[in-house]
Point group: C2
Chain length 329, copies 2
């Protein structure tokens, strides 16, 4: 079975015109979210389902488009209304295609509201809709401030809820308001910051059951291992950097075979989850192959030194372990 | 011949106590820089020269310790006095060991002063001291602001002077005032931002002779190639991402063999310059090898598929081409 742990929702224009309306009005007055017909959603996801069938994906976890989350927008009611609405749309699509989709929630991570306020949305999505995890944006300011690193106690209410519900978080930032850093590059830089902040903190001692997946193959870190190996020795940390990295999981949303080989070699096949991020940055044809960049499976299939057992871990077993609620209903 | 293009100055405590004095007094009153005896410098560099001899480095380019540059500190006179002083110390060490050292300048990159004001220090170091290049910090705010990306015209006075003097810039950020991002991680993230900003701009069309080296093997970018290949196609850029990356050079300050293989495969041996960043983050013993992490040469030597011609490029010829002033006196 092929489980794509990193997909995003495909939705009709009516969904995003509501977002534009929310931004324009700042949700004042609050006119309420529109009803989106099942038929409209079916029409919207049809070609995406066809893509999944073609590339051989059996199950895909879908979450809101991260760069659409607008966590930094004021007031909070805008973030709250949009997050709830888009999670509802995902629940609706999961209901229509329970054989293919599983839901992954976004949280209303406004930097002006305490994390303890965000987690009721996670609870709602997991308990009411059987969502299997959530996104966690380490930079709710969207490149406009200096939020606490993920190793800080600021984030503990989220970690407590994740452990209580037994669901993982996928580290994935939202947009970037900095003209020098596109959202797609901000994803990468925030992943590097998140990894270092978590691994230099007490988080995994305080939450030994916390499950964290880092998107996009871990930002820069597997490539910059030497630097952080040395850094850990300089700081006399209790674990080597290689040991500490094994507290985390990583997905394969990278689109380069050489880099995927480096990832798997560096962190181990038991720490890598198949993910494509489709639809996302890689959903464009690579003229060299005639396939989209985010059609990652043929790349993994072509890594000769991977054993059948390793592939089974990456394509299915690691996902079953980390997203255990996705398969025990 | 082995040319290490990325080394930093080794200096006695008297040099840094002057820095502390500058910071404490904010250079008001300006008491002038201390005189540092040749004998004191000789004592300070002795064990470093021994290290270079042991690891087999023939020539090393030395620049100020980037994390000591304090570009964001106010007022400007502090930055100006410190930059001038530390460049002078480098010139003094080069004078003492002209067979081993070449000087690489820092610029007084205060975010409150126009780049056109910074370049007289470059001119001074190249014309008076025969320095061979300079560092360029893409984030003079030291993680406290949003400076223009390196693709913006803001930086053009620096590029004009680099081309006029025929010296390259080594992209290397300074410290980081953000508690969530250490200076060593900030280096990596700023390199990724610098690469994208340069390659999505007109800089190499406007300055076809500009020579830019990106430190630490290019931040995250060679590892995240797939993402930016796709991104370039989405944006309909005139060059593929692989083509555009060849406007840049990269150094080997990475400390991981697997990653160095990925770098050389990705950008080409003709784009990679040997560098160790010694003394730097990697100057600590790796228990696995008994050598310091930044002893990079044995790693490169052990890459079996590299031809003798490739090694000659990486160890010597690329440096001679890019830092042409280092060898034509």
């Amino acid at each position: 079975m092929i489980i794509d742990t990193h997909g995003h929702v495909v939705a009709p224009a009516e969904v995003y015109s509501y977002q534009a309306q929310l931004v324009a009005s700042r949700n004042n007055p609050d006119l309420g979210a529109p009803h989106i017909d099942d038929a409209l959603l079916e029409q919207s996801v049809a070609s995406h389902l066809e893509t999944l069938r073609k590339v051989g994906t059996d199950i895909q976890f879908i979450s809101p488009r991260p760069y659409h989350m607008m966590h930094s927008l004021q007031p909070y009611t805008v973030v709250q209304a949009w997050t709830r609405f888009v999670n509802d749309i995902i629940a609706q699509e999961v209901r229509l295609h329970p054989d293919v989709y599983r839901g992954v929630a976004a949280l209303p991570e406004s930097p002006t509201v305490a994390p303890s306020e965000w987690v009721s949305e996670l609870e709602r999505c997991v308990r009411e809709y059987h969502f299997v995890g959530c996104l966690l944006n380490p930079d709710p300011t969207e490149a406009q401030g200096t939020p606490p690193g993920l190793g800080e106690r600021y984030w503990y209410p989220v970690y407590e809820k994740l452990v209580e519900l037994n669901v993982p978080a996928l580290i994935h930032s939202a947009s970037s308001a900095s003209p020098r850093e596109s959202y797609t590059l901000h994803f990468i830089n925030e992943e590097s910051i998140a990894i270092l902040s978590l691994l230099e903190s007490d988080v995994f001692r305080d939450f030994p059951d916390l499950k964290i997946v880092v998107a996009h193959s871990g930002g820069a870190i597997p490539y910059q291992m030497g630097r952080f190996r040395a850094w850990a020795y300089r700081r006399h940390l209790p674990e080597t950097f290689d040991e500490s990295l094994r507290h985390l999981y990583f997905d394969t949303c990278n689109y380069s075979k050489d880099s995927l080989e480096l990832l798997i070699k560096t962190v181990g096949a038991d720490r890598v989850l198949f993910g494509t991020e489709n639809p996302g940055t890689g959903t464009v044809i690579d003229p060299a192959t005639g396939r989209t960049f985010d059609d990652v499976k043929p790349m993994i299939d072509s890594i000769e030194w991977l054993s059948a057992a390793d592939r089974q871990l990456i394509y299915e077993d690691n996902a079953r372990k980390v997203y255990s609620r996705a398969f025990n209903k």
